[in-house]
Symmetry: C3
Subunit: 150 residues, 3 copies
């Protein structure tokens, strides 16, 4: 395939990339809903103007903070992945390798949140799930460093 | 229009996308300036080496923390929007729909910060402004899930 | 060069962009490792399930928090740069200008972390390093606002 056709829906790797970008966006947005849910359940807010319905200003509620840590971990990992995966498309990976890397990363992030903020499991479960996605990102970044001209 | 021409300045939807990406980048950078302004005004810093001019290390100044919360809310929403909007271009939206979604999202984020960190208004003003941009992002992500092949 | 060929490896500016995106992704991932290293060294964690190996739950360890502030500063600046730099490619910059802007931004972020979280130097060292990268981002965003049609 000519390189200029990488960013085309005729390229199954690119279409697959766009699908997982959409799914990971949904995942990030769900974190906001999850935080809101915990704030509502525990009646815990951060701003004076948010106390109208009876909630209190509390900054260290363990359940709210746990979701927020999971969300921050997503912010540290998902947007960089979305961008490096776009760059990775230009290393001309096979559909099989690329699509499975996208799937593995996405699955690891969904499971990471499940284990971190919804149904807490003992370590090293969360650490292993984190490292799976982390290594996918490293792999793509190193491929980029090897292939692109600085 | 052939799909391969989506990422071309001849495509008015793409040029419009690039404009709002530029404007949203300015918006994110302004948040940093706003935090700096509040830190200077209240003489509040986070690091020992930043106290040279007489500021104190304080981590819970309400005005500084308010701007930081608005900034974090931007970080949770704007970079994901920038990427999902790029994916959304490949769903081949009409110029009218796409450009207005970009405008609505951008306007909602500017007003969200105005109401959150500069001129505080009672709820549900901020909640409504948040949800406008949030729903635009959801819409684009769901379009992506429906159209792209995983 | 025809505009549709911007996102091609035949375009040296784009290849250079992809290289620095890869390098900046590595940089972001290193911040996570650096936080983990400080947590291990100080035996400081955030979650009950992370205390199995004897670490304590502490949220205000100065060394851990310093690395986390440097990481957050990266998150505020690097993903927006990655995206605005992609938009900036469509302003058709010369290779010389664009590649040097990518290099200056990347160098400023690496040095910023070095000075902030590893080998602390007195201000205004960190402020100057921050502003170098910050101004590169502003320059690209303003170019975008001037050139793209809203």
């Amino acid at each position: 395939m000519a390189l200029r056709e990488i960013l085309s829906l005729d390229n199954p790797v690119f279409s697959c990339y766009l699908f997982y970008v959409s799914l990971l966006t949904v995942k990030l947005m769900v974190m906001t809903l999850l935080t809101g849910l915990q704030r509502f359940r525990k009646q815990v807010v951060s701003n004076q103007e948010d106390t109208v319905l009876g909630a209190e200003i509390i900054f260290n509620d363990p359940d709210v903070e746990r979701v927020r840590r999971a969300h921050l971990n997503d912010l540290e990992n998902i947007p960089p992945f979305m961008i490096i995966a776009l760059a990775y498309l230009f290393t001309d990976p096979s559909y099989k390798v690329a699509s499975n890397l996208f799937r593995i990363f996405t699955a690891s992030r969904f499971l990471h949140t499940l284990i971190y903020a919804i149904y807490v499991l003992p370590q090293p479960t969360r650490a292993i799930l984190f490292w799976i996605g982390f290594l996918v990102t490293w792999y793509m970044a190193i491929q980029g460093l090897l292939i692109f001209n600085y």
